[in-house]
């Protein structure tokens, strides 16, 4: 069924994606602080290594060497489970995202994607919805009130924005006629990027991924001024780092997802990647990474320029504006498709 070649290819792909995500997280933690420094007219961390390049490694070592405190009033099993329940879905989600054009090695085609399952989009949505548990459990199990408030806020927020996100994606599914990201990318290669055809969906999706990843302007879960630190207030050392890593992993996946849905994935406009052979593959991967990096940069820019929403405003935006708009988009898309036949 599965021969050695395929097995080897899968193992290598898993390792590459896993290592790539972790390296991406390291770069992001540094980039966030350097860009923040730039925006606020200060320097940011620039002492460890050349221009602060080794700062993420220093942070990692620090997290490892700190004392791991478990509060006395905490519910121990769930307190230990929560960081895992956040981190595992966060690292699993990237598996269905294609990060380059299919590659030919020794006469066989290798897709640059860990798993090509026929419900790729649903897989991502399902894992996103599972991620809520980690936050709720972390908030509850710490046994103190600020984390609990943070956990409640974040779960309410995730549940609300998941709906608008799912409905925004439905518009894309309707025009491209497939649930896998490969089909959606192939459709965009033929007829142009989805951003031109589904601008409303792209707009809604961009807003909802900020809420889904708990980033400003929607980071009410960790609003420092009100809640100390939200659901991970009581966590320390490496468990805290796990929450942190998952947040950045989710950001990377969300940015890549955005690129695949609306900006052609690994597609380079006006170029036939398949005709260029190995260089085409390289170009496609570079294009994918570049687009994803752009959206990650946008995340940071937004964080350091926009103020935080108030909680009721956040809920109102989600339920009374984004959700009806997403429904309208589905309706309009259906109408256009029906008229076109």
């Amino acid at each position: 069924m599965i021969d050695m070649f395929e097995l080897l290819a899968i193992i290598i792909k898993v390792l590459v994606v896993f290592a790539g995500t972790l390296v991406g997280i390291m770069i992001m933690t540094l980039a966030e602080r350097r860009v923040a420094g730039f925006i606020q007219y200060r320097l940011g961390p620039n002492r460890v290594g050349f221009g602060g390049m080794l700062q993420p490694i220093a942070d990692g070592l620090k997290f490892f060497s700190k004392e791991d405190v478990i509060p006395g009033q905490a519910n121990r099993p769930l307190f230990l489970l929560a960081p895992l329940a956040v981190m595992i879905p966060a690292l699993m989600t990237f598996a269905v995202i294609p990060f380059g054009a299919p590659m030919e090695i020794a006469g066989r085609v290798v897709k640059l994607q860990v798993a090509d399952i026929n419900i790729g989009l649903l897989y991502i949505l399902a894992l996103t919805s599972i991620g809520v548990y980690g936050l709720v459990l972390a908030g509850w199990s710490a046994g103190s009130k600020y984390p609990q408030l943070g956990g409640l806020r974040s779960s309410a927020q995730l549940i609300s924005y998941e709906l608008a996100m799912g409905l925004a994606i439905i518009g894309v599914i309707m025009i491209s006629g497939g649930l896998t990201l490969n089909q959606i990318i192939a459709y965009q290669q033929e007829t142009g990027w989805n951003i031109w055809k589904q601008p409303i969906a792209a707009f809604i999706f961009l807003i909802t991924i900020y809420a889904e990843t708990n980033r400003l302007p929607f980071d009410l879960t960790e609003a420092e001024q009100e809640l100390v630190g939200g659901y991970h207030t009581e966590y320390s050392a490496f468990k805290f780092a796990m929450f942190f890593l998952s947040e950045y992993a989710n950001m990377i996946t969300a940015a890549a997802f955005m690129v695949c849905l609306f900006f052609g994935g690994w597609d380079v406009p006006f170029i036939d990647e398949a005709a260029l052979g190995g260089w085409g593959v390289l170009l496609s991967v570079a294009s994918f990474l570049g687009k994803t990096a752009f959206f990650l940069f946008l995340y940071i820019l937004v964080r350091w320029t926009l103020p935080r929403f108030r909680y009721d405003q956040l809920m109102r935006l989600g339920w009374k504006f984004l959700l009806p708009l997403a429904l309208l988009n589905v309706f309009l898309t259906g109408l256009v498709l029906a008229v076109k036949g």
Partner: protein
């Protein structure tokens, strides 16, 4: 490989289901139930019914159980006090429940066995696919589908009415 994975998922599913019923802390029950649903989705995936498996995670584990978690968490249900013995019910109630349960098993098991043995060994490749499920929903099962939609609408209106007295 598939058989081994099936037994693994099935064992974990039964184990977590037993844990849901037998342990005393409702929070643990909710978490174990979510874990059980994840294993059930794993079994669906083994059967190549990817769509059903994804919906199992998305709807049951991702949406309904979050609600359970909220309720248990916010009502602050204390763990049950340990009691002696396995049976806490009155003897007669217990007897009635046992009889009912055995009757239920008698009703279900033969039908299930017939169903399993009547399915041909091979299977259609696209049995659990989105297209097939969609077609079935909008052709053969249109009426139940619409009735379910109506039921959900009624429930929605009821919720809004209960939550917001002044509209």
């Amino acid at each position: 490989m598939t058989t081994a994975l099936f037994y693994l998922f099935a064992a974990l599913l039964i184990g977590s289901a037993l844990f849901v019923v037998l342990n005393r802390n409702p929070m643990y029950s909710v978490v174990a139930l979510v874990f059980g649903f994840a294993n059930l989705a794993g079994i669906y995936f083994l059967l190549e019914a990817y769509f059903i498996g994804a919906l199992q995670v998305l709807v049951y584990a991702g949406a309904i159980m979050v609600l359970f978690l909220f309720v248990v968490m916010l009502l602050d249900v204390k763990p049950d006090k340990p009691r002696r013995g396995l049976v806490h019910l009155d003897r007669w109630w217990f007897a009635i429940l046992v009889v009912l349960f055995l009757g239920l098993l008698l009703g279900i098991v033969p039908g299930a066995v017939r169903l399993i043995t009547s399915v041909p060994a091979g299977h259609e490749a696209d049995i659990g696919n989105v297209e097939r499920v969609g077609q079935a929903l909008f052709t053969s099962y249109l009426l139940p589908f619409e009735v379910a939609a109506l039921l959900l609408t009624v429930a929605l209106i009821g919720t809004v009415f209960l939550a917001k007295r002044k509209i």
